[in-house]
Amino acid sequence: MSKIVDASGLSCPQPVLMTLDAIKSDSDAELEVIVDNVASRENVVRAAESKGWNVFDIKDNDDNTQIFIRKG
């Protein structure tokens, strides 16, 4: 079960800050980040990859996007 970071309704830089906080403190090495705008989606993916994490799945739903990342 991966930890969930719910950044829906937030715009940059909050989703990235929350993702990086979770990456720093994470013990499961797997995270699900929820965002609801495309700029945040791109920013979270870019930030996770810059920390050496892999995006292994992205689900674009009607009202949000789930980004699944794990330690590379």
Binding site: L10, P13, A22, E42, S50
Partner: protein, 363 residues
Amino acid sequence: MAKNFFSTRVGIIVVGAVIGILAAVLQKLGNPGNMGICVACFERDIAGAIGLHRAGVVQYVRPEIIGFVLGSLVAAYSFKEFKPRCGSAPIVRFVLGVFAMIGALVFLGCPWRAVLRLAGGDLNAVLGLLGLGFGVWIGVMFLKNGYNLGRSQSTHAGAGWMLPLVMLGLLVLMFIYPQVSGDAKSGVLFYSLKGPGAMHAPLLISLVVGLGIGFLAQRSRFCTMGALRDLILFGQTHLLSGFLSLLICACIANVVLGQFYLGFTGQPVAHNLHVWNFLGMALAGLAFALAGGCPGRQLFLAGEGDTDASVFVLGMIAGAAFAHNFGLASSPKGLGPHGIAAVIVGFAVCLFIGFAMKKRIAA
């Protein structure tokens, strides 16, 4: 989802280059010196055109601003990114918009114009850009300590259309009441007879360039404040590469077009009070950082349905009215009579907002 080219590193560099070159061209076609594009100045001119302030030299409905919002709207709809949203502390964003504008008018330009001024050889812009960096740095300190304005919620599509419709309305007014040579007023609209407000590229060219930039900037998320914020906050240089590309390409275009004059003195629509160039832009930078985007980015966000960004835009337009009615705005002659007081009050308000709004968000 197809990969968005403009969100790549190359993409944002291309967008910065396009903006830089088009800004220099707009200046060549009639826009004021080192002001091919200035979001703050142009919103101030709009405030004047509709009579919210009566500074006769800065009154013109700038089609570039209309184009920015509508171009972004078209891009957002074309790529299914139009998301009407509201409710992330709009009143705070309005106040931040007011003081962002006041700070920008003490310096005489927004971050876009600061870059364009430097690209035209105006060395006073260095102080402005350092101030911008300082203001954004203060904002980053707040962000690191949990500052945020809370979550937005989705709302009616019609709500997202409000600012685009306001812009469309302004454009319609321009066609109903076109500029009449030698007249300071046409119908309900004011048109400057002299000064920067009287200098403008042809309406349709300004509009088309605005639409194009609005489209590209929505796709690329171009943001001048974000460029510095992401560098300071995350060490990321993605947005910064667009910012630098704008500077370099505008500079080259200015040299090619014979618009480059290096120096501190005699620069168009500028003063050389270094401390106030620095502090004015620092105030603006802090307000932009607390509001999450530079004035251009706020227009593009408004175009994709972010009504909180729309409220920030209206705050900037109201701020321009205050700035000229209260004597806060600078001019090439120097500071306005109450410019110093306005900067002090602006910092006090922004610091209050930064300290007061840091409720932790439950993940």
